[in-house]
């Protein structure tokens, strides 16, 4: 289990006391610093006073709701934002991701899933500063410096586009990558709406790197949103 960032500071924004209590308990037990806010205004004040390393934001709040808080935060805050949504709140989820949220979690969630997402987001933030050259994911090894991918030690032949897609997803392992984000990253500014082509590439990638291509384990589609590269807990990038 990767060690948590001991000094990571998390701001939790939720109008429901039970959720605040539960999240507080989860994170303080693992030595994270936790601050709690019960509404949007309080959250923004706390964030401005001392910028957190990560924000957990509930979407369904009365008054100033999660989307507005997200929009406000993103005018100056560049750290990761994880939103909590409810079942059936797909449009809000997509809206939040469009406004700059980094990932989402649907209530009710299991603790390990929450921690996995938080760790992934914090790791990604750290990696932006110092990207590691080598990433392990199950049987895969991705050498970013040399643009090489091996599976079970055997080299895997990928087209340049396939490599770019895989590299980007892996660098954001366990975080959601929206389709526009992926298109923009891989094809540059003004990528157009070429989602069919993207899907085709993903299908080819699955064939090459998934142990069971028809039942993907790593390259997961997030419906209506994008994709996520699932790194099982215990794997890491060094």
């Amino acid at each position: 289990m990767t060690a948590p960032e001991p000094s990571a500071n998390i701001l939790i924004v939720d109008d429901e006391e039970q959720i605040r209590r539960a999240l507080n308990s989860i994170f303080t037990a693992r030595k994270y610093g936790v601050r709690l806010a019960a509404n949007g205004e309080e959250a923004l004040n706390l964030a401005i006073a001392r910028p957190p390393d990560l924000v957990i934001l509930d979407l369904t709040m009365p008054g100033m709701n999660g989307l507005e808080v997200c929009r406000e935060l993103r005018t100056w805050y560049s750290g990761p934002i994880l939103i909590l949504s409810v079942r059936g709140g797909e449009t809000d989820k997509v809206a939040a991701l469009d406004l700059g949220a980094d990932d989402y979690l649907t209530k009710p969630f299991a603790t390990n899933e929450l921690l996995a997402r938080v760790r992934a987001l914090l790791r990604r933030a750290a990696m932006r500063v110092a990207p590691p050259p080598l990433i392990h994911a199950g049987e895969l090894e991705i050498n970013l410096a040399q643009r090489l991918v091996t599976c079970h030690g055997e080299p895997v032949s990928l087209t340049p586009t396939e490599y770019d897609i895989l590299a980007y997803l892996v660098q954001n392992a366990n975080c959601v990558v929206t389709t526009p984000m992926l298109l923009e990253q891989v094809w540059g500014a003004d990528p157009g709406d070429d989602t069919q082509s993207l899907r085709s590439h993903i299908a080819h990638l699955r064939k090459k790197i998934e142990p069971e291509p028809r039942a993907p384990r790593y390259l997961i589609t997030e419906p209506c949103i994008g994709f996520r590269f699932r790194l099982p807990e215990g794997e890491s990038g060094e």
């Binding site: 059936g88 586009t161 989602t195 039942a215 384990r217 997961i220 997030e222 419906p223 209506c224």
Partner: protein, 543 residues
């Protein structure tokens, strides 16, 4: 009766006179050549002709006129009614009798024939009208049919159908008129009066010796008793059954004259049929509403009892476990606590699944849900679904899916839920660690996916029932977890995608649930040529 024969009858006497005169003028020049008797025969011919054209009364007149003409012009002495030969008296008498008999009998036959024809047409009208009213399901179509039939049999040129409105009166529902018919400005007033009073307006008087029975006729008043100084030829008939007033039927002849009593009879009969039709419509609507209210009620009751059961059971278990753990009279060590907490976790999973299913069900029943479709592969659906499985469950799955399955235009999230329900079903009913096989195939018309287990299978009599709401299998044994909604929801989701879901038998035992999606939802995969000269990273490397 047809207008022409109607004319002939009206002018019968004139025709009789005309024919006899014409015949006489024709015969006169030949007076010298034939014996006096032959003219009688010729006159009898004319009488028969008149009888055929204009009926018995005209024939009678023709017989008398012929008798006089024969006497006057053809029996010596000519040009007087006096006859010299006494034998001619007998001839004259016989001629008169025969002429009258022929005329009257032929005329009667003609009358009866034309009456029979009229009866036939009337019956035909009623037959067609009642047949179409039995099969027609819309009031508008009924009104159109009525207009079509009535204008063929009577001199009707316009009809207006007034139906009861919310304010206790009638409002115009339908009006159709031939081109030259202006609307009657007083129609609404009169129609409302007719509706309130259940009386007719404008029915023609019935001649004394006519064959028309007026027992069924509504009481009728003239137009100007309702709206002063207005006289019109429209007929207004109340449409009512024994229990209910449905509306008013207004029929106009426009410029084609007044309705005869005969036509009025047909109009009244048609109006009665229309009233019955309207009553049927009303009763059918009421019955339909009552039925759907009943169904909604039944569903609500079942839903409430299902919710109550499905949520109370795990909650009860959790409460018991938690209070047990907190009890002061037992000491729990860490391992035992962990075990108990794991049980709570299982119950919570069940609670979560049940609530999810009930919410899905409520949303689907609300019919507000529209699938959010996009292009996906079945791999995407599997990825989403399998993520939620525990490792032990996932380990039981085997896959046999061909490489060339087409892309699908579906709501990925919902399809994943449908697949999840099928898998949950398989896990519940197929024991232990028997494998569960996921397969797929595609043809030109549709793409299929299936989930196959080696459990007890579904008996033939239950293969439709299992998709019913709240149905739990009869072979369930110990009551399995679940709301009984999983398969219903899966079927509904597949149905929203214009697909089908069914269950098949597997040998030696087991069930295969098959989802079939029509090929319009799919597309062959085409790798589009790249739009740019390589990806951003490549361009960066190359520069």
């Amino acid at each position: 009766m047809s207008p022409r024969s109607h004319q002939f009858e009206r002018y019968g006497l004139l025709i009789a006179f005309g024919c006899i005169s014409a015949a006489t003028l024709l015969f006169l020049p030949g007076r010298g050549y034939f014996g006096k008797g032959q003219w009688a025969l010729l006159y009898l011919l004319i009488i028969g002709l008149v009888a055929g054209m204009s009926g018995a009364r005209a024939a009678l007149a023709a017989a008398v006129l012929a008798f006089l003409a024969w006497d006057f012009f053809f029996l010596p002495p000519y040009n007087t009614l006096w006859i010299t030969d006494p034998k001619d008296w007998l001839a004259l008498l016989v001629f008169l009798i025969v002429g009258v008999l022929i005329g009257v009998q032929t005329g009667r036959m003609r009358d009866r024939e034309s009456q029979a024809l009229a009866r036939e047409r009337e019956t035909g009208l009623l037959n067609r009208l009642s047949t179409s009213l039995v099969s027609i399901t819309g009031t508008l179509v009924m009104a159109e049919t009525l207009f079509m039939e009535i204008t063929q049999i009577t001199r009707t040129r316009e009809i207006s159908l007034w139906l009861s409105d919310a304010a206790g009166g009638v409002a115009l529902y339908y009006r159709k008129a031939m081109a030259e018919c202006p609307p009657n400005p007083h129609a609404a007033t009169i129609a409302n009066w007719v509706f309130q009073q259940s009386k007719a307006v404008g029915l023609p008087p019935v001649p004394e010796f006519s064959a028309i029975h007026t027992e069924g006729w509504p009481v009728s008043v003239p137009h100007n008793s309702i709206v002063a100084d207005v006289q019109h030829d429209d007929i207004y008939l109340p449409l009512q059954t024994t229990t209910h007033r449905e509306g008013v039927l207004q029929i106009g002849a426009c410029a084609s004259g007044e309705f005869s009593a005969y036509e009025a009879q047909q109009l009244i009969t048609s109006a009665n049929l229309v009233a019955v039709f309207l009553e049927r419509q009303r009763l059918q609507a009421a019955a339909g509403k009552a039925e759907s209210l009943q169904e909604a009620d039944r569903l609500k009751t079942t839903l409430v009892s299902s919710i109550s059961h499905e949520l109370k059971t795990p909650l009860a278990a959790i409460t018991a476990t938690v209070t047990n753990l907190l009890a002061e009279d037992v000491h729990w060590d860490v391992t035992q606590m962990a075990d108990e907490l794991r049980c709570i976790q299982t119950d919570l999973d069940r609670l979560h699944a049940s609530i999810g299913a009930l919410l899905d069900f409520a949303r689907l029943e609300g019919a507000n849900w529209q699938p959010q479709r996009d292009w996906y592969d079945w791999d995407d659906v599997l990825g989403v679904t399998l993520e939620k499985l525990r490792d032990v469950e996932r380990a039981r799955l085997t896959f046999s899916l061909p490489d060339d399955l087409p892309a699908l235009y579906i709501d990925c999230q919902q399809m994943a839920r449908a697949l999840q329900h099928l898998l949950e079903n398989a896990f519940i009913y197929a024991p232990g660690d028997t494998p569960i096989r996921l397969g797929g195939s595609s043809t030109a018309r549709e793409t299929r996916f299936w989930v196959e287990d080696s459990g007890p299978g579904v008996p033939p009599e239950e293969r439709q029932l299992i998709f019913e709401k709240f149905y739990r299998g009869a072979t369930a044994g110990a009551s399995p977890a679940g709301t009984g909604l999983g398969l219903t929801i899966a079927a509904e989701i597949v149905r929203y995608h214009q697909g089908r879901l069914w269950v098949e038998e597997v040998h030696p035992h087991g069930a295969r649930f098959v989802i079939a999606l029509p090929q319009e939802n799919s597309n062959g995969y085409e790798t589009k040529p790249q739009r740019h000269e390589g990806t951003k990273a490549q361009r960066h490397n190359n520069s």
